[in-house]
């Protein structure tokens, strides 16, 4: 099957700022594809180029085989878009938004009415449909946004940070809609800066940072690609000089794959924490190095993120911490 989207060496500069640089990716039909990156990474810029509202400085992209610059109009008629900002006209009602978009997508009136009814039901806004949007809550606006994006019955839906700023319940709800869309064979392209969202929802994702794609793969592949679980030992300041010795002692142990020094301890990749932990502690005991903290966990998406970008996406930290 032809890919849904193919981008080749996209680049966009604003004066001296390079928003995205040499960005290439392929998105398959029927998948949920995520662009994961911190603020300013270039996610929205990439999306805007793909939906034809922004021309790339260089490079090309096709959506369902149509060039986003040369055949922009065709592309526009095949896609739906849910912008990052709540692009809502506060004076119009929810229904009026959908009616307006129905006309902008040139739907016949009767068909549009049909579709509007369906969508209001899907996003559960039937009751509020005839109220001005200024009376909507953030979550309701987001739902209206999503209904607007789905109105033209698109083959591909682009969602820019669909759950930004929503409470947990609304977020789960929106994840549900997105999965339902995939069931119907719609391709989803979304951006997020939530690791959990990328991990749980996306079939494949691209980690993007500083306008460049760092890695592309399914969350599972990416995590497996890290090679093993993480075991992190931290020591008190007085013990820091023993770290080299500890590292030397741990290296030959079975189950240990890789060791990295971090500020106040060691970051060890192991095949299994249960099997490797006794050995590691024994080495520490032998050289009389007092361990301050131990934590271990299965590889997570934040580990993938750190390993490809060299920094954390946000201040998110591990949950399993065993104090000695």
């Amino acid at each position: 099957m032809n890919p849904a989207i193919e981008a080749k060496s996209l680049r966009k500069t604003y004066g001296s700022v390079t928003a995205i640089d040499d960005l290439s990716l392929t998105i398959h039909s029927g998948e949920i594809f995520g662009l994961l990156g911190p603020n300013g990474a270039g996610k929205s810029t990439t999306l805007r180029i793909l939906i034809t509202v922004l021309k790339p400085t260089s490079g090309t992209a096709t959506v369902l085989g149509h060039d986003v610059v040369e055949e922009a109009d065709t592309v526009r008629s095949l896609i739906g878009y849910v912008p990052q900002e709540r692009a809502i006209d506060r004076f119009l009602t929810g229904r009026e938004h959908l009616e307006l978009l129905g006309d902008l997508y040139h739907l016949p009136k009767a068909h549009a009415q049909e579709r509007i009814k369906e969508l209001l039901k899907l996003v559960d806004l039937e009751e509020q449909a005839d109220r001005a949007a200024k009376t909507y809550s953030g979550g309701m606006k987001r739902k209206l946004d999503i209904a607007c994006g789905l109105l033209p019955n698109p083959k591909i839906v682009f969602l820019d940070e669909p759950t930004l700023g929503l409470d947990v319940q609304s977020r789960l709800r929106i994840w549900d809609y997105i999965r339902q869309l995939r069931e119907q064979g719609i391709t989803i392209v979304m951006t997020t800066n939530y690791l959990e969202e990328a991990d749980q929802l996306c079939d494949r994702l691209a980690i993007i940072d500083g306008g460049k794609i760092k890695v592309i793969g399914s969350p599972k592949e990416l995590k497996a690609g890290l090679g093993g679980d993480r075991l992190i030992l931290t020591v008190k300041e007085s013990q820091l000089e023993k770290l080299d010795q500890l590292s030397e002692g741990v290296k030959p142990l079975p189950y240990v794959r890789d060791i990295r020094k971090i500020d106040n301890g060691l970051d060890i990749r192991v095949e299994s924490p249960e099997k490797s932990l006794p050995g590691v502690l024994e080495v520490a005991n032998r050289i009389d190095c007092q361990i301050d903290g131990i934590e271990y966990h299965r590889p997570r998406l934040d580990d993938v993120f750190v390993s490809f970008t060299g920094h954390a996406i946000k201040g998110e930290y591990p949950e399993v911490v065993v104090e000695e």
């Binding site: 805007r48 939906i51 034809t52 509202v53 021309k55 109009d73 065709t74 526009r76 008629s77 896609i79 878009y81 912008p83 990052q84 900002e85 709540r86 692009a87 809502i88 006209d89 004076f91 119009l92 009026e96 009616e99 307006l100 978009l101 006309d103 902008l104 997508y105 040139h106 001005a132 607007c148 033209p152």
Partner: protein
């Protein structure tokens, strides 16, 4: 271009502007019953006795002022014509509209239809109020028709300036300060409030370069002097407006292309 589609888009977009206005009751009141009216009523009454009929070349100040107030209304409306697009640009609604398969000019055209309709209604409101104060356009209904045409031609260029500003400013603070910067001098350095002959020389020179002066000088004789005096002025205004509109539309198109490119 597919004409039925174009029509469908433009009508829907125009309806949106109408709906927005009708939902803002206050704003509707102030749009239809323009603050410009107060100029007419207060200034008209205030300067009635201070103004020198000889200098004005008009039966009274109110009738002199009516033409100026009509054109000031066109000015205010035109220069504010881009504001809604500015908000659309800032909150992402413009981007949403541009992500749909509409012709790139539809949004602009819908805005024009709306602004021109409002401007036309306001001209009628102003002339109606002036009538209540005893000012009857001497050239009759045909003259009023010509006033509307001239007013709208001026409005086209002004709205283009406003939209160009809306598309190119970084923030809406910039937009509103530029608006103030443009509109006051345009009013005071024109024949809106006093005839050129009553101005000091340097002001006269600047007012002479102001398209607003030419528009007012065409509208005013249609109200107070009659066809004979008006026709050459109207012809002159049409030439000036053709040039003015061409320049503004060209600039507006450039700004629009840059903003959505």
């Amino acid at each position: 271009m597919n004409f039925p589609h174009y029509k469908q888009e433009v009508l829907a977009l125009t309806l949106r502007w109408v709906r927005r206005l009708s939902r803002e009751k206050f704003s509707m009141l102030f749009t239809l019953v323009q603050p410009m009216l107060f100029w007419l009523i207060f200034f008209g009454s205030l300067f009635q006795r201070a103004a020198d009929i000889e200098v004005l070349q008009a039966p009274n100040y109110m009738s002199f002022l009516a033409g100026g107030v009509v054109v000031m209304t066109v000015l205010n409306n035109g220069l504010a014509g881009g504001v809604d697009l500015l908000f659309d640009k800032e909150n992402g609604f413009l981007e949403r509209m541009m992500s749909t398969p509409i012709h790139r000019t539809s949004v602009i055209l819908s805005r024009y239809l709306f602004v021109m309709a409002i401007t036309g209604m306001q001209i009628l409101v102003i002339l109606g109020i002036a009538f209540l104060f005893g000012v009857t356009p001497i050239t009759g209904l045909l003259g009023i028709g010509v006033i509307m045409i001239i007013g709208m031609l001026f409005g086209i260029g002004l709205t283009a300036i406003s939209m160009a500003m809306a598309f190119s400013v970084k923030s809406h603070g910039d937009f509103f300060s530029m608006l103030g910067f443009l509109s006051l001098p345009m009013i005071f350095l024109s024949s809106a409030l006093v005839p050129l002959s009553a101005m000091p020389g340097w002001m006269q020179a600047m007012a002479f370069l102001n398209p607003m002066t030419w528009v007012i000088d065409a509208v005013r004789p249609l109200i107070i002097t009659g066809w004979e005096a008006a026709i050459p002025q109207v012809a002159m205004a049409l030439v000036i407006l053709a040039i003015f509109d061409a320049i503004c539309l060209y600039g507006g198109a450039k700004a629009f292309q840059k903003a959505i490119g």
